[in-house]
Each structure stands twice: as structure tokens, then as C-alpha cells.
């Protein structure tokens, strides 16, 4: 089980601690996330994996009473420093949520919104091109190319989630965060998105929180197991699921606790 030493580290988390008011949700997490890999964060409910995910694009900033300590660096730059503009950050780090949440606008406008507000497409034809590329990359283009003006909410659940993925990648992020993206989807829609992730990781770094260990085992290269705010173990996915080092990890993935 050799580590691929030539993998570049994209995201470095050092001693990340998160408090919600008085309660501590994460206890000093140290974790490296590699570029062009899918890293899965697993663990029982309330273990802090979603909280950790949201630290990477500073979505925890919008929660009242949430304090983040430690550092999270993307490409060696600490994203919690004052020099970093949160809005710019969120264009570099996209997010897909558990329940598909397309804007109640047309499919075109859903994908075009990000590039528009960031001024990424000065002309209409460039915008059209960006929308097409994003929808193609998200595997949705063929299904919607004839009805781009239809409402985003008129699509099926799986299609809506792919629309949200297209929306996230339209602004050309480096990193895509996914918070249980398939929980609300049927197995076929889930499989489509898993296949998509395999393609996407060639161009993006993907971090996914998932409740399904089978899914984590299927799609990720590295896995991190969280429990009650601690990072218990992390490593190559094959190792974690065939022969984990930590007994607690073993118990969790075998369905013995949590």
C-alpha cells in the first residue's frame, strides 16, 4: 500500500477547530487533500464531516455564532486570512448540496448566474459557450439542449443535481465540494453522478461527504473517517476498507457502531 508521493497537496487543513457557540464541533483536524483526487469524508451523523467540508469554502461564516480556528490553506494560501475575499474564494471552491437546489430560474440562467456575477463572460456568445461546456461536463447537455429556457425545477431529481453540478463548475473552480450529493437520488441517478465524478476529477479536486460507505469505497481515492469531531483515520481508500489501522474505523465500516 504505497503512497503516491507525486500527488500534489491541494488543500491543507491544520489544527482546524470549529465552535458553534459554546459547543465544539471539530477538534483540531489535520488533513491533506490531494489535487485531482476524490477524497471521501465518512462518519456517523454529527461527527463533523459536513462542518469540516464547509470550512473549505468558508460557508460556516454565514452561520451565527460559528467560530473557526486553525488554518485551511488552498495552494499554500490560508483562506481565513484577511487578504482573501470570500466571494472570490467561493468561485474557486464550488459546492453541491444534499438536496438539489437549482434556482427557480431557467436552466440557462442557473448555469449562467455564476459567470455573470463574476464578470467572466463579457459577451452573450461567450456565455452561451460557457453554459454549453458546463452542461456537457455535467453530463446534462444532451437532455436539456432543446429546452434551456425551461425552469430548473422542472427537471427530475437526478437531473437537478447534475444541473447544480453544472452551475458549480460554470465558474471554473479548482475544487468542488459535495455534501451527500446522492442522498436524495435513486440508485441509477446516483450511479450517473458517480460516473460523472470519475470524469470530473481529471480537472477538479473533489471532496465528498457521504453516509454510504459503499459509495465512498467506490468513488474515492482517499478516505477520512470522522467521529464526534475527531479525525480518527485517513488514508488510501482500499486500505481503509480492507484493512484499516484503527479499531474504531474497523468497527464503523463493518457496521458495528454508529
Amino acid at each position: 500500500m504505497k503512497m503516491n508521493e507525486s500527488q500534489k497537496v491541494k488543500i491543507k487543513a491544520r489544527n482546524v477547530t470549529v465552535h458553534y457557540g459554546e459547543a465544539r464541533a471539530l477538534h483540531g483536524i489535520d488533513l491533506d487533500l490531494n489535487a485531482n483526487e476524490v477524497t471521501a469524508l465518512i462518519g456517523p451523523s454529527g461527527c463533523g464531516k459536513s462542518t469540516f467540508l464547509r470550512c473549505i469554502n468558508r460557508m460556516n461564516d454565514v452561520i451565527d455564532g460559528c467560530r473557526v480556528g486553525g488554518s485551511v490553506s488552498i495552494d499554500e494560501q490560508n483562506i481565513y486570512s484577511d487578504a482573501v475575499d470570500v466571494v472570490e474564494l467561493r468561485a474557486r471552491v464550488g459546492m453541491v448540496f444534499q438536496k438539489p437546489n437549482p434556482f427557480p430560474k431557467s436552466i440557462y440562467d442557473n448555469v449562467a448566474y455564476g459567470p455573470r456575477i463574476h464578470g467572466m463572460a463579457p459577451s452573450r456568445s461567450e456565455l452561451d459557450h460557457m453554459v454549453e461546456v458546463s452542461l456537457k461536463r455535467a453530463g446534462l447537455w444532451d437532455e436539456v439542449k432543446d429546452r434551456l429556457s425551461a425552469s430548473g425545477t422542472s427537471l427530475s431529481g437526478g437531473q437537478q443535481q447534475r444541473l447544480c453540478i453544472a452551475r458549480a463548475i460554470a465558474v471554473s473552480p479548482d475544487i468542488v465540494l459535495m455534501d451527500e450529493p446522492c442522498s436524495a437520488l435513486d440508485p441509477i441517478a446516483t450511479a450517473v453522478i458517480e460516473e460523472l465524478m470519475e470524469e470530473l476529477r481529471r480537472d477538479y479536486t473533489i471532496v465528498i461527504v457521504t453516509h454510504s460507505m459503499q459509495q465512498a469505497a467506490r468513488i474515492s481515492q482517499r478516505t477520512a473517517y470522522f467521529h464526534l469531531g475527531d479525525l480518527v483515520e485517513h488514508g488510501q481508500t482500499q486500505a481503509i476498507f480492507t484493512n484499516p489501522e484503527n479499531k474504531q474505523t474497523e468497527a464503523y465500516i463493518s457496521g458495528k457502531i454508529g
Partner: protein, 421 residues
């Protein structure tokens, strides 16, 4: 212990449950029917009593527009009253004596001369010719012709004397009397004479006032709600503000009138009885009624939309303006329009700032003196003249129609915005 598996027991219980349900439904039906009946009764009695105000009896007079009364180059300075009286005298040559002549003149409304004046001004070439024109009769004659004054009563109990009756009967025999639609009700301002009194002044006053109310309260209310709901940190101070806003909605409206008097009129010296001041006072009153539903509309939008927008890199302002506000619009509009509709029916606060006054002219700007519909209705209701009874009801009908239009607008706009969601 009751045996729940006993089929007889279960059948009996089931029967009782169904009966209880039927009774419940019957109560509901009874409540709706009662409310409906009350409404129908109310509306129909108002509409019925307003009907007389919508028509007025006119008499066709042959008028000789003699140059003795009107000069060709100055038609506006003509003695139209004289013209009309001359026409009457010509028609009833047998009437002599000053008292009889005065009685004769009184069968016509003051508006008769206005009608002639308007005609001549419109076409000065008529001067020197004879025209035949329908002019309005006085309110008492009109009521008598409509049967609202009983001509069979003894003369001492009647407002209309026998002599007047004789004049009118003669004119009726000549087929000169006709009942026409009372346009005056809608074109004129207030007047001492009931047949000349119109709702236009009050309607215009109400519309100007509501315009000011809308312009002031809508942006302030919506922005305040946006700030409180989306931007302000949730601490003790904002909670305090919230409680106070909720309480403001329950403050008696006359208090706002006192505030308006003290601040707008006495301190800022804004003109009394003006829609500007009325609008400002009502805006203060409507503000909490806009803020509260607007906040509710914002709170009803699921956080997932906001998160999605933030995730794509929208700033807080962009999230609000591009996503939350458009989606909250139906709720905001409904709240605003209902608040406006309530303001349209307010009288007490406007009392304090002087909009309960006899104002003849139709206001043409926000600083002109004006009154509002509910005030007008109240004043007409207090007027002892019989003809104002029908006019009061007519005023109520107009006010109700206005409110109906405003509510219909609310439903229309809400439907239009809801489609996009």
C-alpha cells in the same frame, strides 16, 4: 373494561363518530351561511339605498340666450341665473307676484345655470339663439318624483308645497321631465346642495393620499424588513426592535393622527388637510403592516436557495436582490396592498390633521386641501337633508368598489409572481 373487539360496541362508536362529523360539518356550513347572509343583507341594503343617488330628474327648458344676459365676447360673465329664470317665467307666464316667482325658481337646482353656462361657453355661437336644454331639478322635487317624498301627505307635513307640485305636474304633462344618470355624482366635489354633491373630490383626495402612503411606506418598509431579516445580527437590540414593530401594528390609529398633528403640521408646518400630510400619517401606520408580512415572506424562503447562491460566490447583497427578493415578492405585494386597503378606509388619524372638512374643489396636487372617502361619507351621513341619505350609501358603494379593486390587484399581482416560483 370495555370490550373493544365487540362488534356491536364498535358499530355503535362508529355511528357516533360519523354523527359527530356530520354535526361538525353542519356547524361549519351554518357559520358560512350565516356570514354569507349577513354579508348579502348588508351589501344589498346599502346598494338598494344608494340607487336613488345614481339618477336625477331633469327638465327640458326652452332657453332664449338673449344678449341682454350674455355678451358675445365675454360668455363667462353672463348672467346665466337670469337666463334660466327668464326661461321659467316664459314657460309659466301666469305666474306673477314675487313670492310665487321665487317659489317657481326654487324648483330648479342651482346647477341649472351651471349647465347653461357650460353649454354656452362650449359654443358661444349659441348666444342670440334659442336652445332647448335639460337642466336639473331641485333635490326635493327629485325626491318627490322618485316617490321618496310622499305627495299624499298633508301639505304641512310635506317639504314640497302644493304649488310646487302644480308646477311640476304641468311640466310632466308636457313630457318635459326625464330621469337621467347622475353624472354629477362622479364629476363634482362636495356641495351644500345634495344634487350637486359629488364624490370626485373625496375620491381624488383618497387617491392622492394613498399615492403618498405607497411612495413613502413601501420602500421604507421593504428595506427595513430586509435589514432586520437578512442583515442585522440576531441580538437583544434587534429583538427589541422586532417587539416594538409588532406592537406598532396594534397602536390605535388616532394616535398616529396626533403624532401627525404635532410633528408634520405644528413642527414642520406642512399644509393642513393636504394629502401630503394625510399620506405621511397613514404611511407611518402602514409601515409595520408592510414590515411584518415582508419579514414573513423572507423567512418563508428556504435557506437552500441562499446557500446555493452563496456557494456560487454571490455576495450577501446579490443573494438578497437576485434571489430572495424576487421570490418574496408575492408575499410583500400582498402585505403592501392589504396595508394600503386598510389605509384607504382610515378616518380617525386624518381627523386630527384636518381632512375631515367641507372641501368643494377637487384636489389637483398633494398640497391642495382635500378630504378622503371615509370622511366624506361620514360628513354626508351627518347632513340632515334627505337627499344625502342616498348619497351616503352611494359613497359607501364607491369606497367598497375601490377596496375591491385594490384587493383584486393584490390577487392579480400575487398570481403573476407566484407563477415563476
Amino acid at each position: 373494561m370495555t370490550d373493544y373487539s365487540d362488534p356491536d360496541f364498535r358499530a355503535a362508536r362508529l355511528k357516533k363518530r360519523y354523527q359527530a362529523e356530520k354535526r361538525f360539518r353542519a356547524y361549519g356550513m351554518a357559520a358560512i351561511i350565516t356570514a354569507g347572509l349577513i354579508l348579502v343583507f348588508l351589501l344589498s341594503s346599502i346598494i338598494y339605498s344608494s340607487l336613488p343617488a345614481f339618477s336625477h330628474h331633469h327638465v327640458r327648458l326652452d332657453i332664449n340666450i338673449s344678449e341682454d344676459y350674455v355678451a358675445t365676447d365675454t360668455p363667462e360673465e353672463g348672467n346665466y341665473l337670469g337666463l334660466v329664470r327668464a326661461a321659467l317665467r316664459d314657460h309659466f307666464p301666469q305666474v306673477t307676484g314675487r313670492r310665487d316667482k321665487r317659489a317657481l325658481y326654487k324648483i330648479l337646482s342651482i346647477g341649472a345655470s351651471d349647465a347653461v353656462e357650460a353649454r354656452v361657453k362650449n359654443d358661444p355661437r349659441l348666444i342670440g339663439t334659442q336652445i332647448s336644454l335639460y337642466v336639473p331639478l331641485s333635490d326635493d322635487i327629485d325626491l318627490m318624483l322618485k316617490g321618496l317624498i310622499d305627495r299624499n301627505l298633508p301639505e304641512s307635513d310635506r317639504i314640497v308645497s302644493d304649488r310646487d307640485l302644480a308646477f311640476v305636474d304641468k311640466l310632466a304633462e308636457e313630457n318635459r321631465i326625464e330621469r337621467k344618470f347622475a353624472f354629477a355624482l362622479f364629476t363634482n366635489g362636495d356641495s351644500r346642495e345634495p344634487e350637486m354633491a359629488g364624490i370626485n373630490g373625496a375620491l381624488a383626495g383618497s387617491l392622492w393620499t394613498l399615492l403618498v402612503t405607497l411612495i413613502v411606506s413601501f420602500p421604507l418598509g421593504v428595506l427595513a424588513a430586509i435589514y432586520l431579516e437578512e442583515v442585522a445580527p440576531k441580538n437583544r437590540y434587534t429583538a427589541l426592535i422586532e417587539v416594538n414593530i409588532n406592537n406598532l401594528a396594534a397602536v390605535p390609529s388616532i394616535v398616529y393622527g396626533l403624532l401627525g398633528l404635532a410633528v408634520f403640521i405644528n413642527f414642520f408646518h406642512l399644509p393642513r388637510s393636504a394629502p401630503l400630510v394625510g399620506g405621511l400619517v397613514l404611511a407611518l401606520m402602514t409601515l409595520p403592516r408592510i414590515i411584518i408580512p415582508t419579514r414573513a415572506a423572507f423567512a418563508a424562503i428556504p435557506p437552500s436557495i441562499r446557500e446555493a447562491a452563496l456557494g456560487v460566490g454571490a455576495s450577501r447583497t446579490q443573494v438578497i436582490m437576485h434571489h430572495v427578493l424576487p421570490l418574496a415578492m408575492p408575499g410583500i405585494l400582498t402585505g403592501t396592498i392589504i396595508g394600503l386597503a386598510q389605509a384607504a378606509g382610515e378616518t380617525a388619524p386624518l381627523l386630527m390633521i384636518g381632512m375631515m372638512a367641507f372641501i368643494v374643489d377637487v384636489p389637483t396636487e398633494v398640497t391642495a386641501k382635500a378630504t378622503v372617502l371615509p370622511a366624506q361619507i361620514y360628513m354626508w351621513a351627518n347632513n340632515p337633508e334627505r337627499a344625502f341619505v342616498a348619497r351616503t350609501s352611494a359613497g359607501i358603494v364607491v369606497l367598497l368598489t375601490l377596496l375591491l379593486v385594490v384587493n383584486a390587484a393584490a390577487i392579480y399581482f400575487r398570481r403573476r409572481f407566484e407563477k415563476r416560483w
